[in-house]
């Protein structure tokens, strides 16, 4: 090949680079390692982490059993090593699964259209809020303090440099749900969106009907966020919301130290053209058979450039595919049963503890550490190979002495009993 190019060494290929930019030394990175060494290195690192521990952590990243088929399908090279399906004729597999994903998200959320995924829930939140800004032509956003603190942090980062104000409204100290009076007092003619999360960060189910009523009265949109997708299997879908945005991690992807996850945004048909992210649509091929293709691409950055709905380019197709398999495995009945198991475990866990809030919860809740500290309880549990709850003082100084605990179908009764023990 070098001879074809009239070169006598590989170095000739970049001889034209200006001398001042060339790196005149080898990279300071050790020489290549064998497959054995690589597997061994990561196993050794992994073993320094909590391996084989039971976990009561939720807070935006949930441990759910992953049906074997999820990984089997996602490991197929035809899905794993394909690109964004721009060439519809040789990407019908990916396109069809995206269409199924979009459909199931609509069925779960009660919305008309859903995109083919965003990076994660925390970035879907500001994207949904920006969408509301475009739809309403207004610039202010109200976010509940019960929305995941990291989602709110990302929202702030996205908004502050665009000069779009984010105002937070509080929660009822007794129920742990949004303070509707505080929300109403902050709504005005400049409010583009009200962001609530349900179940909220404290695990409590929010009254989205009332929130929607208030938002709509002032001409604002209601954005319903979720971080625990399994809740959609049992909770009434938020039909009065204008935009639903959330995190699909619970469906088939383990916590994986924070990523990769997959966010989604779903909305009413009338706001379809303001949706960011990819969309697959149904059409026909030249033989008249059903086929799918990416559509409404003029919303996107590769065409509209600085006027695009977002700069987003990738989606989380492979994670969305795993979620699609997860949803097919559990199906209509299984998703409900899965949610019911989460409720049962959580209720059993809560019974032995002092709940800080009275609001109805799905699979996590806030417990008061009583005479102990969350740190002491967690330390005691760690010794029994149990990762305890999240110390809430980090995000809510007013809740110091409280912790957020989550019980999914993955925790066993003996682990829950151990938690009860540690709180005593």
């Amino acid at each position: 090949m070098l001879a074809t190019l009239g070169l006598d060494s590989l170095d000739g290929l970049y001889a034209h680079l200006p001398a001042e930019v060339k790196l005149n030394r080898p990279l300071n990175i050790a020489p290549g390692k064998s497959e054995f060494d690589i597997v061994d290195y990561f196993r050794r690192q992994a073993d320094r982490n909590a391996v084989g521990f039971a976990s009561f952590l939720g807070a935006g990243a949930y441990s759910h059993f992953r049906p074997v088929l999820c990984d089997v399908v996602a490991s197929r090279g035809e899905f794993l090593t394909s690109y964004t399906p721009y060439q519809a004729e040789m990407a019908q597999g990916t396109l069809t699964t995206i269409f199924e994903f979009q459909t199931m998200i609509c069925q779960l959320t009660g919305m008309d259209v859903a995109n083919a995924s965003m990076y994660d829930g925390s970035t879907a939140a500001p994207e949904a809020a920006m969408m509301a800004v475009r739809v309403t032509g207004r610039h202010k956003v109200l976010a509940a303090k019960t929305v995941h603190p990291e989602y709110r942090a990302v929202l702030n980062t996205y908004f502050k440099y665009q000069g779009l104000p984010v105002t937070e409204f509080g929660y009822d100290g007794a129920t742990g749900c949004i303070d509707l009076a505080d929300l109403e007092s902050k709504l005005d003619k400049d409010t583009a969106a009200v962001l609530i999360q349900s179940p909220n960060f404290f695990g409590c189910v929010e009254d989205w009907k009332k929130a929607a009523e208030l938002a709509h009265k002032h001409g604002a949109l209601l954005v319903y966020l979720f971080s625990e997708a399994v809740s959609l299997g049992i909770l009434e879908p938020p039909r009065d919301a204008d935009i639903v945005a959330g995190e699909m991690q619970s469906f088939a992807h383990p916590p994986s130290y924070g990523g990769p996850y997959a966010g989604i945004i779903a909305t009413k048909e009338k706001f379809m053209r303001q949706l960011p992210g990819r969309l697959a649509g149904e059409t026909k091929d030249s033989n008249g058979n059903r086929a799918f293709c990416l559509t409404l691409s003029t919303r996107e950055q590769h065409i509209r450039r600085e006027k695009a709905t977002s700069n987003i380019c990738t989606n989380q197709a492979l994670i969305a595919l795993m979620a699609t398999v997860f949803m097919s495995v559990y199906g209509k009945q299984g998703l409900r049963e899965l949610a019911e198991q989460n409720i049962a475990k959580t209720q059993y866990l809560a019974k032995g503890l002092k709940r800080r809030f009275s609001g109805s919860v799905f699979n996590e809740f806030v417990a008061s550490a009583g005479a102990q500290t969350p740190q002491a309880i967690n330390d005691a549990l760690l010794g029994k190979k149990i990762v305890g709850g999240l110390d809430l003082a980090r995000f809510y100084p007013e809740l110091s002495g409280c912790m957020l605990l989550c019980a999914t179908e993955m925790v066993k009764r003996e682990h829950i009993d151990a938690v009860h023990e540690a709180f005593r």
Binding site: R273, S297, T298, I303, R304
Partner: protein, 125 residues
């Protein structure tokens, strides 16, 4: 091809003025350059528009083209047919597929626009 009773812009819009009202559309050249039109975004009735400013956009599968108003005024009517049948813009851009009607506030602006003959020279037709 390019009717004499229309006046044209360099951005490929046309306007036809009748008793103080201007009907605005895009030219045959514009629709041809865009290809199959799939969506038309139009302003709201009652909106105030300024000459040379964006009032909406026309989309094909892989391109978006802003519509620049040839005149200033107030939008009094939009062509609802185009929301259902955007393809009409490919078929009859100078006629049935007009975009908006505007009550002119500065009728003299029309003098700054091109005649049919000038426009044809401009696009090299």
């Amino acid at each position: 091809m390019y009717p004499d009773n229309l006046r044209y812009t360099k951005e490929h819009e046309w306007v036809r003025v009748e008793s103080g009202t201007g009907t605005i559309g895009i030219t045959d050249h514009a629709q041809h350059e865009l290809g199959d039109i799939v969506y038309v975004d139009l302003p709201k009735i009652g909106a105030t528009i300024d000459q040379g400013k964006t009032i909406g956009s026309v989309e094909s599968v892989k391109a978006v083209s802003d519509i620049y108003s040839p005149v200033s005024g107030e939008v009094v009517e939009i062509n609802e047919m185009l929301t259902q049948s955007p393809e009409k813009l490919n078929e009859d851009p100078h006629g049935a597929a007009w975009l908006v009607k505007v009550r002119l506030t500065s009728p003299e602006e029309i003098k700054s626009l091109m005649s049919a003959a000038d426009y044809q020279t401009y696009i090299g037709a």
